[in-house]
């Protein structure tokens, strides 16, 4: 029992921090350009730096590290509000494909040469035709207009599609835009009766998403602290007023709780701990709620400037909402947790 980053893990975090801090200067240009993400940054972080394969086994072209290292990278990506398909392609598609044994595309996803996204459906979207699987579905998926692969995720079935229609949609979350997807065709690969593997992979994905939210929440707090130290009213920095200090203290109490939840869940994933599903649900809803709260407080404590388009605060607030629906809602994770700990309602 040693619940602290090893020197190697601290180095991963530090390296990622430096890279995503460099990328952050391009954030507004990427958002304004409407391309969704910066291809050069993607190739750099995912391919050259190897962050895409950090949790992928060496046999599949990865670094053979694990969920803790991936979480540490996601925290730093979140801190820079990095607009990229990190969560759908690296954080979600890779564990789904590894967990269900459909590993053909994993090396290409891990080195960033291909991008995958995900569409959640019910199992009824899958039908057997002529010995193969046909998928019919529509919905919203992040970065689907840039994706090479679309993973169709049902409760017990998973399909890989390469032929699908994707139309970019003007999205609330400017740093993780959605596209409207239509699928009606034959799957490249399908697994059936894979409920537990899919559930476990999605738990892993939620932990990585939670880590990214944590990083964004911590950045929202840090930027708010910096601003309130500079901004002078009534002859003193506004950060010296208790009404603001206590609110920022509460933000930090929330971010530290979220950090505990995220790191615990990542470590539980790495050790295949029997409490992992619980820990993932807790990390997921806690980190998303923390980001929403911190982003909201960031707007409030910046005053009028916080409500402008020019200021980044709204990008954080929008990201919080996008995160809250990407891999299931915080409320859904609490309902799942209730079931896992035996608080489910009696059958009527």
């Amino acid at each position: 029992m040693q619940f602290v980053e090893t020197p190697e893990q601290a180095l991963v975090a530090e390296t990622a921090r430096g890279l995503f801090a460099d990328f952050a200067s391009g954030l507004r240009a990427t958002v304004a350009g409407g391309q969704g993400y910066d291809r050069a940054q993607w190739a750099n972080a995912i391919g050259e730096m190897g962050f895409g394969g950090i949790a992928v086994p060496e046999a599949l072209g990865g670094a053979g590290l694990g969920p803790i290292e991936l979480a540490l990278v996601a925290i730093e990506a979140g801190g820079g509000l990095w607009p990229s398909p990190l969560i759908p392609s690296i954080g979600t598609a890779i564990p789904l494909l590894i967990g269900t044994g459909l590993t053909d595309d994993v090396p290409a996803l891990a080195d960033g040469t291909k991008i995958a996204t995900i569409l959640f459906v019910t199992d009824e979207a899958f039908t057997r035709r002529n010995g193969g699987w046909h998928v019919t579905a529509r919905g919203l998926a992040p970065f689907a207009d840039s994706a090479d692969l679309l993973l169709i995720v049902g409760g017990t079935r998973l399909a890989v599609m390469t032929a699908f229609e994707a139309r970019p949609a003007p999205s609330l979350d400017l740093t993780r835009p959605l596209a409207a997807v239509t699928v009606d065709g034959v799957a490249v690969a399908v697994v059936d009766e894979a409920g537990p593997a899919i559930a476990d992979a999605l738990d892993r994905a939620r932990v990585t998403l939670a880590a990214e939210c944590l990083g964004a929440a911590e950045a929202a707090l840090a930027r708010t602290v910096d601003y309130t130290k500079q901004r002078v009213q009534f002859g003193r920095p506004i950060g010296s007023f208790q009404a603001l200090k206590h609110r920022m203290a509460d933000m930090m109490i929330a971010t530290e709780a979220a950090r505990s939840a995220v790191l615990y869940a990542a470590a539980a994933a790495a050790e295949m701990d029997e409490g992992f599903a619980e820990a993932a649900a807790i990390a997921h809803f806690t980190a998303i709620e923390t980001l929403r709260r911190c982003a909201g407080d960031m707007i409030q404590l910046h005053g009028g400037i916080g409500f402008t388009w020019e200021h980044d605060a709204h990008l954080f607030f929008r990201r919080a909402q996008g995160a809250a629906t990407l891999l299931g809602t915080p409320a859904a994770s609490r309902a799942r947790l209730a079931g896992l700990i035996g608080l489910e309602a009696k059958a009527a």
Binding site: M1, Q2, F3, V4, E5, T6, Q9, I68, L221, V225, T228, K229, R236, P237, G239, S240, Q242, K245, H246, M248, A249, D250, M252, I253, E256, A257, R259, S260, A261, L263, Y264, A266, A267, A268, A270, E271, D273, E278, A279, I282, F285, T286, R334, A335, L337, A338, I341, L343, A345, K346
Partner: protein, 387 residues
């Protein structure tokens, strides 16, 4: 980063569990699951001596002072199994958790030799004399004074909120030894025998009906000149060092108590059907998540080489969680929780939680003071003007 325990650590756990089970199902059965901090004082003293005799009283201390030099993992295991077994609250807790580590860090060799063995063996019990009626959150404004007369300190003044003083033999007192000094300057950390004519105790009845705290009056109380820790005039540094030695192993045991409270609420919710109310279920789920997060935070703090910033957030987090739990208890219990418990208990367990948890956000630094500390020390925001 690793959560799991090694085979050796699991063997240690088995040894702890076995010892606790043997003792608590035998001679000390009446102390098991005891809520009161003051009942059965003689049995509790015997319990402390038994812990000491078998080497379990101060496992985290260095071997030289009677401890085991237990690793972090072993301390975690012991704290959690101790609470899980329903072992009683430690009457020696102020000596073991607070004073002992302070003496190990600040005291002279003679002082260590005199006082550490009594704590380790369960023979001498301690109380804490910091707060005063006009020096609570603003501890630096304390006025209890100590004057050197010959080879003794003579102490006059009043302390308040001294817990367990009715069972203690000694009290450590922060007193003003430099006349006319102000704030954190001119204070000394004195070790004072509690059972003497110059000291009077008066219990304070709390809003939940119990009396865990006292007022302690010093009227010409005396202690040897040598019983000053860390040097005359250096009391503030010693007292603050004491507060920082609390790194959280004991909070793991405290959290096991929280789990028992949570379980009791869930049992009531099942019995009266409120568990089927989605709003209640969601609050119970959040309470459970809070428990898991508090444990993870404690493990983070304990595992770090240096006290991390997260440590500053721990108090408000658990205190607020616990106060919320007290409100949830009554929302689950409903009106039937508003009348007395089993036997002739004046309060149901739910009602006792409802009332007693209001203290959590006050003692050990109010939530408001804690938020100032977080804002100033962790976030680096401008300090409050000092009047």
């Amino acid at each position: 980063m690793r959560l799991g325990f090694t085979h050796e650590q699991e063997c240690f756990r088995a040894e702890v569990v076995d010892w606790l089970e043997t003792q608590l199902s035998g001679r000390f059965a009446k102390l098991r699951h005891l809520k009161s901090q003051s009942a059965f004082p003689e049995e509790r003293r015997a319990w402390e001596r038994t812990l000491a005799a078998d080497g379990w009283s101060v496992i985290g201390w260095p071997k030289a002072y009677g401890g085991r030099d237990a690793s972090l993992a072993e301390q975690v295991i012991f704290a959690e199994e101790y609470a899980r077994a329903g072992a009683p609250g430690r009457m020696s807790h102020i000596g073991v958790e607070l004073l002992g580590p302070t003496l190990i860090h600040f005291a002279s060799d003679e002082q260590k030799a005199r006082f550490l063995p009594g704590i380790a063996s369960g023979e001498e019990y301690w109380a804490q004399g910091y707060s005063e009626p006009n020096a609570g959150s603003d501890l630096g404004s304390l006025r209890t004074r100590a004057t050197l007369e010959g080879d003794e300190w003579v102490i006059d003044g009043q302390k308040i909120w001294t817990s367990l003083a009715q069972h203690a033999d000694w009290i450590f007192v922060l007193a003003r030894t430099e006349p006319g000094s102000r704030g954190s300057k001119g204070l000394s950390f004195l070790l004072v025998p509690l059972r003497q004519p110059g000291i009077t105790l008066r219990p304070i009845r709390q809003m939940n009906g119990e009396a865990e705290f006292n007022e302690t009056f010093f009227d010409g109380a005396r202690t040897a000149a040598a019983n000053v820790v860390g040097g005359v005039g250096n009391g503030w540094a010693v007292a603050m060092g004491l507060l920082m030695t609390e790194r959280g192993v004991s909070t793991l045991g405290q959290q096991m108590g929280f789990i028992a409270d949570y379980d009791a609420i869930v049992a009531v919710a099942r019995a009266n059907g409120t568990i089927d109310d989605p709003a209640i279920r969601d609050r119970l789920t959040r309470a459970y998540a809070g428990l898991r997060i508090m444990r993870a935070t404690a493990l983070r703090i304990l595992s770090a080489d240096q006290l991390p910033r997260a440590a500053l957030t721990q108090k408000v987090h658990w205190a607020s969680w616990y106060r919320d739990l007290g409100e949830l208890a009554m929302d689950v219990a409903g009106q039937s929780g508003e009348v007395g418990g089993a036997g002739d208990e004046p309060l149901s367990r739910m009602a006792d939680l409802f009332l007693s948890t209001r203290a959590a956000t006050i003692y050990g630094g109010t939530n408001q003071i804690q938020r100032n500390i977080i804002a100033e020390r962790a976030l680096g925001l401008p300090r409050e003007p000092k009047g």
